[in-house]
Amino acid sequence: MARSITTKRKTINTAFAWAVGLLIFFPILWTILTSFKTEADAIAFPPKFLFFDWTLENYAVVQERSDYMRFLWNSIIIAGGSTLLGIIIAIPAAWSMAFVPSRRTKDILMWMLSTKMLPAVGVLYPMYLIFIKLGWLDTRIGLVIVLMLINLPIIIWMLYTYFKEIPGEILEAARMDGASLKSEILYVLTPMAVPGIASTILLNVILAWNEAFWTLNLTAANAAPLTAFIASYSSPEGLFYAKLSAASTMAIAPILIMGWFSQKQLVRGLTFGAVK
């Protein structure tokens, strides 16, 4: 089965892939490096790559100015909460679409995706007014719900495609054994769908983590996540590359680390039904 690969070819592959990988990763690497420079070194010509006076000063300044942990905690709650809520609502919907399809299933899926096309800024005022009425401004629950709704179509679609791949015979067999609908979902379907659910969760945590319009416009002090944290470093007076880099590194580090640990899952699972 396996094709025999010469060492020479593997070496070439490795060199080339690493070069491309490092090139793509370079902006992030550069940001991380810059975050350890002084402001003067950050703009120095010729640029300093590794040989500069490494300093933690920028992190100290950023930490002193803003309570990073609070922004981080809000990000975790909002991204995690909205994904979890979305999954809970999406699993039954995706299940029924995958296993009891009707003629309209495809249309419903498409319609769900189309709800993502409404430009957010056009409905800022209506949403703001609704949020005031509901008392949801600057609350985590408000953002959890909004981000859940934004990402729900994607969640449903992803789950639908995973469920579709589960052979129907297994369900038939379970039904013959007299499994109830509940146990069918719980004991037969869910274990088989775990990899799919996991990568759905991953993708949606990333999307929710990076959402920067609603999280910025519907929060003030209490529920502001890391996107708001970044907005206070984006273009201040004076030299700011190093401080911006430090703040950026702090904002992306948690999700980057999460991505690092789960990359296998993400690589295997992100199909959107692209694979039959």
Partner: protein
């Protein structure tokens, strides 16, 4: 209706008064400028004095502006204090969205606020926002380069002189640009600069009947002069340079002159600047028409009407914009770092007078008059803006057209024609 509102506000005030004894947490939206960040560092002093704690929402200028505008117009009540400028204050004050600040305590000494500042932060004589710091604009220049060019900067230069000096100071080989100015799109960036500059060329945004004036010769002269001078002696890519980009260029010794906010003076003379000891100051240039090209701006603290924590918010404003606060900063970080441009007493202080840019800052502020900004009469208030709700939108579009002209993507005439069309359309839409 009015009676109910007033009764309601009275009730609120009483409620606030009785609650004043308790410690409250107030939420303050502010901009991420250096002076505000310094203020955040001193929050403990406020808490120690009053018992109230503060939640800061610090945002970049444009984000802040959108955020607080949305909140105040929709009455979201997310903030107890908002940091706003001279553009917003009269408009919001007129709409009754801000708590009047006419009952500040005697020791606060509201009469000490520079008249130009309190004038620009009032509507019909009532103060609606207290200036945290104020600024005008002025020329900052390199004495060493000026000397090398064989010129001497007068205290009140003309545009002709500036252009000539800029050309002589320019040395492309060493990346020394004679002059750095804002060309970046955005009404608070390049838009503010060109508008202030146009005042000295006899141009105006609107005539007495609110008709846009971009089709006048005065505007053509302004923009052509700006572009001509910047093409000769400005940095490449000046069409994307704003305050921050120019500051960075100047600090790195790449500008001979820079005409910008007076608050920049402390940045170009501090430790980040490689040219700190060579910097001189002069008034913003004029054209002999009786108006100089300097603007007037204040970042000020205002309380949105309807907040539950009005009393605590007022206490904060009295703390942050007080003489005591200035002394606190001076004691800890030196006089050069105190928030400038807000109080008369600061400029009477002999210690502060030793600061090299103090006098020029005051002179610049005093020479700007938001109530009569232009050579010809105008129906609006504001030097580098017109305090009407439509201005920000129009000016943002117009300044994009100008930036495209600076970048050579269209001619100045095309840009002005488009500006005229944009402004006319928007003013019609607003029902003028």
């Amino acid at each position: 209706m009015k009676l109910t509102v007033r009764a309601l506000m009275g009730a609120c005030a009483i409620g606030a008064f009785s609650a004043a004894a308790y410690a409250e947490t107030i939420t303050i939206a502010t901009v991420n400028n250096g002076d505000m960040i310094r203020m955040q560092g001193y929050t403990d002093d406020f808490t120690a004095k009053t018992g109230h704690t503060v939640e800061w929402v610090t945002l970049e200028e444009n984000v802040l502006r959108q955020r607080v505008t949305t909140d105040i117009t929709a009455k979201g009540g997310q903030f107890d204090i908002m940091t706003i400028g001279m553009y917003e204050t009269p408009i919001w004050g007129k709409n009754g969205w801000l708590v009047p600040l006419n009952d500040l305590s005697a020791e606060y000494d509201a009469a000490d606020i520079l008249p130009a500042m309190s004038g620009g932060l009032s509507y019909e004589g009532t103060l609606y926002a207290a200036p945290f710091y104020g600024e005008s604009s002025m020329v900052m220049y390199r004495k060493d380069l000026m000397e090398k060019a064989g010129l001497e900067m007068p205290e009140a230069p003309t545009w002709e002189f500036i252009r000539e000096a800029a050309a002589k100071m320019t040395d492309r080989a060493t990346e020394t640009n004679g002059i750095c100015l804002r060309g970046k799109a955005g009404w608070g960036e390049g838009g503010a600069f060109i508008t202030a500059m146009s005042n000295s060329f006899g141009a105006r945004w609107f005539d007495e009947n609110w008709k846009p004036q971009f089709d006048t010769e005065a505007w053509a002269n302004t923009v052509n002069f700006f572009k001509g001078m910047m093409d000769e002696s400005g940095p490449t890519g000046y069409a994307t340079n704003g305050f921050n980009e120019n500051l960075s260029l100047f600090q790195q010794g790449k500008c001979g002159m820079w005409i910008d906010a007076t608050v920049a003076a402390s940045f170009v003379t501090n430790k980040d600047s490689t040219v700190a000891e060579h910097v001189g100051f002069a008034l913003a240039p004029d054209n002999g028409l009786g108006k100089r090209s300097n603007w007037l701006w204040a970042w000020a603290l205002a309380i949105p009407a309807g907040t539950q924590k009005e009393a605590a918010a007022k206490q904060f404003i009295e703390w942050a914009t007080s003489k005591d606060y200035i002394e606190l900063v001076a004691a800890k970080e030196g006089w050069a770092n105190v928030p400038p441009g807000a109080r008369t007493s600061l400029y009477e202080n002999p210690e502060y007078q030793k600061v090299p840019f103090a006098k020029m800052t005051l002179d610049s502020i005093l020479s700007a008059n938001p109530n009569a900004p232009t050579v010809d009469p105008v129906p609006y208030v504001g030097v580098q803006f017109a305090a009407i709700p439509e201005f920000a939108g129009i000016a943002s579009d117009v300044s994009q057209e100008f930036s495209a002209a600076y970048a050579g993507q269209q001619t100045v005439e095309e840009a002005l024609a488009k500006a005229q069309a944009i402004a006319t359309d928007a003013m019609e839409a607003a029902g003028y």
